[in-house]
């Protein structure tokens, strides 16, 4: 009886472990897909921003002033080229140049201006959602069970993408995406 009992218990434990491993694997797979989707969205907004910045620099240098237009074109080109290198740094630099532009650019067509504002808003959203997905993934992968079982060990741990995506230099001015904690302790 005892040996049968031991076998039964062992089988039960094994089943539970297998089910748990399967479930954890499902979660990890789901999270990996979410990180991928979030990255695609973030990448699209970053490219869009760089494209709009190039357009602004190329077709409206008079409105910006030559120096600003030059800096913008350089920053946008840098951001575009940096896909493999330190992208955060390049994107931060582009964001900085865009923030330094005067708030009112009457000589620039309204459609381009709204496009740029909308892209910056969506960029901030996409970045938050991407980092959120990364956080969830890292939290689960850092848990005991996935570490012991080595689930998804072959996959690289996703990295946070940290840039300053404020649209305006003033810290507490209109905040189109309602970034939490802006200007607050």
């Amino acid at each position: 009886m005892t040996s049968e009992f031991v076998v039964l218990v062992a089988a039960g434990v094994l089943t539970v472990l297998l089910l748990w491993a399967g479930w954890t694997h499902t979660r990890l797979r789901r999270l990996a897909a979410r990180v991928d989707r979030a990255w695609v969205a973030l990448d699209a907004q970053l490219r869009r921003r760089a494209g709009l910045a190039e357009e602004l620099a190329r077709f409206h240098p008079a409105a910006l002033g030559d120096a600003a237009a030059g800096a913008l074109a350089a920053a946008a080109a840098e951001a575009r080229a940096s896909a493999g290198g330190d992208r955060e740094l390049a994107e931060n630099a582009l964001g900085h140049v865009l923030r330094e532009l005067p708030a009112e650019l009457p000589a620039v067509p309204a459609s381009l201006r709204t496009d740029l504002t909308g892209t910056q808003t969506r960029l901030a959203l996409a970045r938050r959602f991407y980092n959120d997905a990364v956080r969830d993934t890292r939290q689960l992968r850092g848990g005991r069970f996935p570490r012991w079982t080595g689930l998804h060990r072959s996959q690289p741990l996703p990295r946070y993408f940290d840039i300053d995506d404020r649209c305006t230099p003033a810290p507490r001015s209109a905040d189109p995406v309602g970034r939490p904690g802006a200007g607050r302790p």
Binding site: W23, T26, G118, R128, F129, L140, V177, G178, P180
Partner: protein, 404 residues
């Protein structure tokens, strides 16, 4: 865009989340989107709108002084699955998904972009701390999280470990800004100065006793001042609170409709919010500002945020009747200051207009949509445990089979 909204609370009972979902759906439809709502209700017949789908009844569970509604089980799950299959939504937007409700069921069953809005502020944190590990596996499926306030975001960050974008509750600004006043009252018509109070007047935490004490000071300087009280409560109890001396100065409107509420807010010279305890979000203050009523409010965290740290309204220490009285006297004697506060208030309220907020929510939807399209569907039937996770919860999950 085809949007599915999920409200976890009974549709036929008034509540902040229900109003939020209703107003969001209305505004989205006004912008030309297809919106459907899935919600529980007490009686299926009460859901007359063809865009609203009945999700079943909820089991009310007393929690923390109020009722939390629970809903779980195979029947509800089947309804959710059918709604998702038939709706073919581009995005599903669930509200308050951290409780065992139809919102959590949607998170379990749906495959595709899910957006969630978290409403609860601090009150249910113990409950959340207990359930968070159990629901975490399904909350992980949410692609975009929204919190209605800093407090709601904090609860989310602390207990559920995710970040959220803050998009506050909205207000239909034009509904409050334009329209008639209450008959016999009117701001700026030279009538007697009128104060307004709205809320459950027999609940001490709403602060009416403090306001009544302050009113004694006010009537000494403005002998014809009046106070309008609207809301639910025990009228006899209010009468006792008011007392002989103040009785001619207080008018009880009782429970009023939304239209009358807007009319009342347009009628008063000053709106008073003397609340003593936590309101997570002062929607009523935004409504008052939309109606261009100058505000005197107690210095609760939520109120001072809505009022831009006192720039758009006068803040007084909570529970301090003397300070409230003198603030009211000063404001009633100073029409220029009232006009200035009304202007600032209207500007603040504009930021909370549903039109503005709905555009931001749409930006959230667009961000989580996959670039190649695709709709939200229900996952395979054996995708999740059909019974509520009990005990150590996800203890016996079924293995989800990959579709390919």
């Amino acid at each position: 865009m085809r949007i599915g909204l999920v409200c976890p609370y009974r549709w036929d009972v008034p509540g902040g989340v229900q109003y939020h979902v209703r107003d969001l759906a209305q505004t989205l439809r006004g912008m030309g989107h297809h919106v459907e709502i899935l919600t529980p209700a007490e009686r299926e017949e009460s859901l007359t709108d063809p865009f609203i789908t009945f999700a079943g009844r909820t089991v009310p569970v007393p929690y923390n002084g109020s009722m939390a509604s629970l809903q779980f089980g195979p029947v509800s799950a089947a309804r959710v699955r059918r709604w998702l299959r038939e709706g073919r939504f581009d995005v599903v937007h669930v509200h308050e998904p951290a409780t065992p409700s139809v919102s959590l069921l949607v998170c379990m069953i749906a495959t595709g972009p899910i957006v969630a809005t978290f409403h609860a502020a601090t009150t249910r944190s113990k409950w959340l701390a207990a359930v968070a590990p159990l629901v975490q596996p399904w909350l992980e499926k949410i692609s975009g999280r929204i919190a209605v306030s800093d407090f709601a975001r904090r609860v989310q960050v602390e207990h559920l470990g995710g970040d959220a974008v803050i998009l506050p509750n909205g207000v239909h600004v034009p509904f409050f800004a334009e329209g008639p006043t209450l008959p016999g009252y009117g701001r700026g018509t030279g009538g007697p100065p009128t104060l307004g109070f709205l809320g459950r007047y027999d609940e001490p935490r709403k602060g009416l006793p403090v306001l009544l004490r302050a009113l004694r000071t006010v009537v000494q300087e403005h002998p014809d001042a009046r106070l309008l009280v609207a809301g639910r409560g025990d009228a006899a109890e209010l009468d006792r609170l008011v007392g002989e001396e103040l009785r001619p100065h207080v008018a009880l409107l009782g429970e009023i409709s939304e239209a009358d509420k807007a009319a009342m807010l347009r009628s008063v010279d000053v709106y008073v919010a003397p609340n003593l305890l936590g309101e997570s979000f002062g929607v009523i203050l935004i409504e008052a500002m939309a109606a261009r009523a100058p505000i005197v409010a107690s210095d609760l965290d939520a109120f001072s945020r809505v009022l831009d740290d006192g720039a758009a309204g006068v803040l007084v220490p909570r529970g301090d009747a003397a300070a409230l009285g003198s603030a009211l006297c000063d404001l009633l004697a100073d029409p220029a200051r009232r006009a200035e506060l009304a202007d600032r208030g209207a500007a603040v309220a504009g930021r909370y207009d549903w039109q503005v907020l709905t555009r931001r929510i749409l930006a959230v939807y667009e961000t989580v949509l996959p670039p190649d399209g695709g709709v939200v569907t229900a996952g395979p039937v054996d995708d999740f445990p059909a019974v509520p996770p009990t005990g150590t919860a996800a203890g016996r999950p079924r293995i989800r089979r990959p579709p390919r």
